[in-house]
Amino acid sequence: MALLLGLILGYAAIKFKVKGNPLIDQIDAILPQTQCGQCDYPGCRPYAEAIANGEAQINQCPPGGQDGVDALAELLNVETMTINDEHGETKPKRVAVVDESVCIGCTLCIQACPVDAFVGASKVMTTVIADECTGCDLCIPVCPVDCIDMVELKPTLRNFVPDIGELANAY
């Protein structure tokens, strides 16, 4: 009970902590929260802090893509730049899928996942909560039996957005 209360209080403390710097928050709000670390920082917020402190360029986030760079430039009121492909290429949104017949339950992926999207325990098969996976790729290299695959998210009836490219010409 005490542990639970402690947990809740502790968590509430981070959740509601007055974030010291509104600029960092604004930058963080633009970043895609993939938490992949391709920007060379351990997560989106650390990268946001680095941008705010002038330590990092605005074009280091591949998942955010060129649109993300442009949005950051607009926020910071600076000239935009092209995305730096040394940090990786911009890929369509994907999620990790575990081949459950191969998984040995080593839990290395659970430890690698920055958003706790894996469920499983030692020596039992692991699986991914697709809705919570950010597609960061961090679990891929740690899997000793290569049973994690990144699968592109297909549009569904539910999230389908029509194309307006054609509309401007003839109707």
């Binding site: 993939t34 938490q35 706790d116 809705d131 389908f160 029509p162 003839a170 109707y171």
Partner: protein
């Protein structure tokens, strides 16, 4: 009589009038394709497998969710596939469907007993019957009928039932046909709804160009709680909120529901299906569909099994030899579909078959303001157009984009032929997607922060635990030292005693 109406809307000539409105019962199709999700949010689970024989009316997929309805076989025969098939949706995407090959026998499940007097049954029992019969709003929205009624059953919220027989889209005549041919079913269905809801009255709304339908219904009304109302023939009268405005002069605010004002609207087709379910114990396996448009020479209404392909009935309406464009639903609010090999669903009231005509050139907006004048929900399409085109969904929402009922009046009157409504349905979809994306990124941010917190806490706990352990060991060792000392002291004493005794 004062005419009951609302602002805006347009009068669209009906180019496809027929002499008399009849219903043709169509032969059984060779196969039917039945999607598992009638609405995009549903996910029914099949309870039959490939190869199994099924009977007409048998439940073939169930929904655990109270919000959705079961799916029934609409013919008897063999399940030949459970896989992804094309459906009538503008995305052109496939969705999971059950395919049944007909055995030509149309053998029904054992019919449930017909009920002579449903008045003896509790509303909750009847509501459940309606759900089990798979009835959804057949006017186009597809909202499960038992949900609207379910609310009422619980708390008697409903004061007024509005039965929508307006059928305001020019060309569609399936509801007109139903009212003219089965008026008694509709009136009995309304009586069932009055019983379930405990409402004080029911108003059947009909456009004043459907006098025959009106007269047919009048013959069967004996309950004084039921009345009819003729409203002007004007496009978009059939939209729920506008109909309420016209009939009762009540505004349902943005984001609000009719039930907040004690009102439940139901389409006449749905009411007739409710009658079939409650009185005859029959699930919904067929519907009446209008086939019309410039591409067919004899527009008509067809009573057809759900899941039949469009072509099954289009071929009966004498299509021309030209190239066709196909549209499900009305010419104004319908959806274009790429092929006729898609199944007829519960919400498919009409199939428009048009000869492909040259398209208009889209020109610049000349700021004439015509669109603003016709918008029946008082939006500013001209403004919305700029924001939608530039994908500024936030600004568009500020201008109440989400209240747009996608009626297409604005597109219809625009002298520059700008397909305004297509921009708005795009912007609405984009807006939904943006919200969903934001929900995901916010969740990811929170989970990341929680993980950091958890790791930090674990670290701290581990350090604390290690320290506590160290301390315990030291104490134990210290204790042990104390014991040893005590033993040594005791031994000394014993030895000393021995020595003393020896002396």
């Amino acid at each position: 009589m004062p005419t009951k109406s609302y602002n805006g809307g347009i009068v669209v000539p009906n180019l496809y009038r027929v002499e008399s409105v009849g219903i043709i019962t169509v032969s059984l199709p060779n196969k039917v394709v039945l999607p598992l999700n009638e609405r995009v949010t549903d996910k029914a689970v099949p309870c039959v497998s490939v190869g199994e024989r099924v009977l007409t009316g048998q439940v073939i997929a169930t929904n655990k969710d109270y919000d959705s309805v079961p799916i029934h076989a609409t013919i008897s025969g063999q399940v030949t596939a459970i896989d992804d098939q094309l459906i009538a949706h503008k995305s052109g995407l496939k969705t999971r469907c059950i395919t049944i090959q007909s055995d030509g026998k149309d053998e029904w499940i054992e019919q449930q007993d017909t009920i002579d007097n449903y008045l003896n049954l509790a509303p909750s029992v009847l509501i459940n019957k309606i759900r089990q019969a798979g009835i959804v709003g057949m006017g186009g929205a597809g909202f499960p009928a038992h949900l609207k009624l379910g609310l009422l059953g619980l708390s008697n919220l409903c004061k007024t039932i509005i039965v929508n027989g307006t059928e305001c889209e020019p060309g569609i005549m399936c509801d007109d046909a139903l009212m003219q041919n089965y008026p008694e079913k509709i009136i009995s269905g309304v009586e069932v709804m009055l019983h379930i809801s405990g409402a004080e009255r029911a108003i059947i709304a009909i456009e004043n160009d459907k006098i025959d339908a009106h007269n047919a219904l009048l013959q069967y009304i004996s309950d004084e709680r039921i009345s009819t109302e003729l409203i002007p023939t004007k496009y978009t009268s059939g939209s729920e909120k506008l109909l309420i405005k016209a009939l009762l002069n009540k505004e349902i605010p943005s984001g609000g529901f009719a039930i907040d004002e004690g009102i439940v609207c139901q389409n006449v087709s749905t009411v007739s299906a409710i009658y079939d379910a409650v009185v005859d114990g029959k699930p919904l396996v067929s519907r009446i569909v209008t086939v019309t448009g410039s591409g067919v020479s004899s527009p008509d209404n067809y009573d057809v099994r759900l899941g039949s392909y469009f072509e099954h009935i289009v071929s009966l309406a004498k299509p021309s030899n030209e190239k066709h464009s196909i549209r499900m639903g009305g010419m104004m609010m319908g959806t274009d579909v790429a092929t006729m090999s898609v199944p007829i669903s519960k919400i498919c009231n009409c199939i428009f078959v048009n000869n492909v005509a040259p398209k208009y050139d889209v020109k610049e907006c000349i700021r004439c303001g015509s669109c603003n004048q016709v918008c029946p929900v008082d939006l500013l399409p001209q403004q919305l157009y700029w924001y939608s085109k530039s994908e500024n969904t936030e600004k568009a929402s500020d201008y109440n984009l989400l209240d747009c009922i996608e009626c297409g009046c604005c597109s219809y009157v625009c002298p520059s032929h700008i397909p305004l409504v297509d921009y708005f349905s795009f912007a609405k979809a984009l807006h939904r997607k943006n919200i969903e994306d934001k929900r995901r990124t916010d969740a990811a941010r929170e989970r990341f922060e929680y993980r950091e917190f958890r790791l930090e806490r674990n670290n701290k706990e581990r350090t604390e635990m290690m320290e506590a352990k160290k301390k315990a060991i030291k104490e134990k060792m210290a204790n042990e030292k104390g014991q040893k000392d005590k033993i040594a002291a005791a031994m000394d004493r014993v030895n000393k005693n021995k020595e003393d005794n020896a002396q």
